[in-house]
Amino acid sequence: MRGDRSLRATSSRPTRQRPAAPVTPVTGGLGESARRPDATLKVKGEFAYSSDLWAEGMLWGTTVRSPHPRAKIRSIDVSEALMVAGLATVLTADDVPGRKTFGMEVPDQPVLAWGDIRYQGEAVALVAADHPETARRAAALVRVDYEVLDPVVDAEAAMAPDAPALHPSGNVLKHVKVRHGDQQPTADVVVTGEYEVGMQDQAPLGPESGLAIPDGEGGIDLYVATQWLHVDHDQLVASLDLRPAQIRMTMAGIGGAFGAREDISIQIHACLLALRTGRPVKMSYSRQESFVGHVHRHPARLQYEHGATRDGRLVCVKTRIVFDGGAYASSSNAVCLNAATFACGPYEVPNATIDCYVTYTNNPPCGAMRGFGAVQACFGYESQMDKLAAALGMDPVELRLANAMREGTSLPTGQRVEGPAPVAEILRSLRAMPLPPNADGAGEAERDLRELPGGVSNTTHGEGVRRGVGYAVGYKNIAFSAGFDDYATARVRLSVVAGEPIAEVHSAAAEVGQGVVTLQLQIVRTELGVQRAVVLPADTQVGSAGSSSASRQTWMTGGAVKAACEAVRERVLALAASKLGATGRLVLADGAVLVADAGAAPTRVSTLADLLGAEVVEETVEYRHAPTEDLDPETGQGNAHVGFAFAGHRAVVDVDTELGLVKVVEMATAQDVGRALNPQAVEGQLQGGTAQGLGLALMEEIQISGGKVRNPSFTDYLIPTILDMPPVRMDILELGNPVSPYGVKGVGEPPTISSPAAVAAALRAATGRALRRIPVRPEHITGLLETRTDAVPDDPTKPARISAETQ
């Protein structure tokens, strides 16, 4: 292929003639719907997920968990378990060599419980055996003597002065106060409301799993599916009491995450078992264990009071939001801060009083899930906007337009919104989209009965079916906030292999399905003009990428890869200048160095292959976004966030008002993504995120009573199927972002923020019911069962004052 090379070798006479290898334009760069590099393996069943791993001689680990939500451990007897043939070891808290607790922000959760049990499913002991069934049987024989205590199961009750303290620090984990403007404002019209959001599960399809392999020298290699290798690594170092270099982590294939893999699950446990037995140990949760083995979306109770002028200008928002954090802190503090900062929605609000709490209870721990505090708040403020519109006799979209936040708006936290804040554009776009054909309009005759509420169960021929349309708009921060040192690392290496330039990217970014592997390839192809590019496995041999959460990886790891490419490019171009004497404006494109002076056609200086020869150019870069600051503890003022993303939804539903069954006919969404670097992947995020929001609105809830999870299976915890999910009409806005690489915004979370509120609004429009709780259940639609919050008196002229703590 590179015949010119041997030719030159035989001709030592200098020539002005540039080598004339054919130019093959690089494809799969930024802006294209480049193919996922892992797609072929995934469709063939050959992609190695964490639950697929296997090693010669490996054992199966399993966890003994508490059946009680609150108890004290009197004693643990492992003698019977130890008699099981095939059993390798049983471990309890005494066997944890280092720090006996873990936690991303607050290390308050025992690796293995030793005194207090704080939730049902808390890990108490570990077992390793030669077969998963042996391990399960041995686990059942670990005798734990519990003193069972009354659980604290209500977040509000947990704050009562006489509630038992579940942690030494007390039960209020965090209280975020925001005080903005006049604290005693008067308004022409005031509406109040009380809302509830149930506990949602991320329900990634891949179970928590991994394989730990001891290295024979006291160290360990762990292959695991996680959202953030390095934060796991820190916690492993602490609890295993090893030097950092003794623990090497490699990302195994991840079967979805959505927040569920931000906290430790099997990581420390598998390593403990492997180090003790000296054998590889695999752990893989069953679906039931998965439901108690990861944190959930915080259930919330939200009280709101909105005041407006008669012509529909917001005067004030007063709100009190209480999250149930469950037994341990996880990322509750950050969720609480988020909810507080977004509590008023994407609107201009001159006066605000916000109190947001998260408390410890004996319910399952809650933490990160797609939308992270913004989802619950959005259901609250958007329900209020509809209620206010009704009280004012205004169109709900017009009311939102009249108050829409824009570039330069000052948030209740005092932070100015920089860059595009296209709330009005999003609303107008949604309103302008054509509506699906009406159920009782023309064309009804051809409508398949399977498309009606009740679907394939054939419960109606259209009688009692009413249509409703609802709108919602929401927003959220991108990347980590409140003063966190947020960075991502990438290494890019350019070399020549078999006569062809090849770029390798190494980062620890977790590919959870969103496509960050594809994006890294697209960036190097575009930045270095190299077709052949590979992403090396994510591991701890390179610096932290931060978490695949907060919609941050496109911006952060994208930014790091871009910066590393720029550093590599600078060196390559310097080489071209020094080695070949190239001058002018040098660029890399299509596998070559070109001179691209203004006004002249680009000419080739050299192919990269010729220029580099055996030379390898490698650069590692840490990328940071602009610093943020924590909120003032008394006033809640501060520039807590580095950037925002906005999305809106319009939901169209058909409701069988007699049976309470719902068919979502269409979801429409408009979202500003800044710039769509991979349009197909962006669409996938919008569609998938919308589906999870629809799930929260209609069916997804972890049912808890007495602190116990009652539905830990896909039989009883329902996630939307292909029958539940309608087509998604999309308007992807690309308005840029002045402070991010390529002008991107995060894409993953916004679709989940406004979709639940839009579905709820559509259901209200169809049924005329208040529907103050999501998920909305059939009995709420038919009115057979009023929720506690539905029973709250609803008289806009006599607002029930929020019992907010004034400073």
Binding site: S33, R35, R36, D38, A39, T40, K42, V43, K44, G45, E46, Y49, S51, D52, W54, H131, E133, Q202, A203, P204, L205, G206, P207, G253, I254, G255, G256, F258, S284, S286, R287, D448, R450, E451, V456, V512, G513, Q514, G515, Q680, A681, E683, G684, Q687, G688, G689, T690, A691, Q692, S713, F714, T715, I719, P720, T721, I722, L723, M725, P727, V728
Partner: protein
């Protein structure tokens, strides 16, 4: 117990199988075929779908012993070496793969649908794939993939 079956055309056997094991466990842990996935192991998600004597089943609900002497086709058997099956090609091209954990099961279910109905309507596709959960895609691109696979197969006829 010992188990003999034909998997993707090849005679296979497994020794020391515990009677309580599922076909899914045998495939994944004993026969080195982890392509069929284990998202729920209780028949709710379809990620473990395989053909058992030509019928699409959830391998997690089939006791290992039931597979004695049976013919089993898994997702690993669809491609012809490096050449993807048209259904697999369509999933890649349509962007129907995100995390991909649902993908093997959906590809098997799509394969089964298209061999029964060559030009399914959207409602028929939805009904046929209703037993397969996907948490990432919202199903839109999965529908695209099935439509594309059906169209390509018709062109290929």
């Amino acid at each position: 117990m010992q188990l003999h079956c034909k998997v993707n055309g090849e005679p296979r056997e497994a020794d020391g199988v515990w009677e309580g094991e599922s076909l899914l466990y045998v495939l994944r842990e004993r026969l080195g075929l982890p392509g069929s996935k284990n998202a729920c192991e209780q028949g709710e998600c379809g990620s473990c779908s395989v053909y058992l004597d030509g019928t699409l089943v959830c391998a997690c609900l089939v006791a290992a012993g039931q597979a004695e002497g049976a013919r089993i086709e898994t997702v690993e058997g669809l491609a012809d070496g490096d050449i993807l099956h048209p259904v697999q090609q369509a999933y890649v091209a349509a962007g129907a793969v995100q995390c991909g954990f649902c993908t093997p099961g959906l590809i098997m279910a799509t394969h089964d649908l298209l061999r029964r109905i060559s030009a399914p309507t959207d409602v028929a596709i939805r009904e046929a794939l209703a037993g397969n959960l996907c948490r990432c895609t919202g199903y839109e691109k999965i529908l695209d993939a099935v439509r594309m696979a059906a169209a390509n197969a018709r062109v290929g006829e």
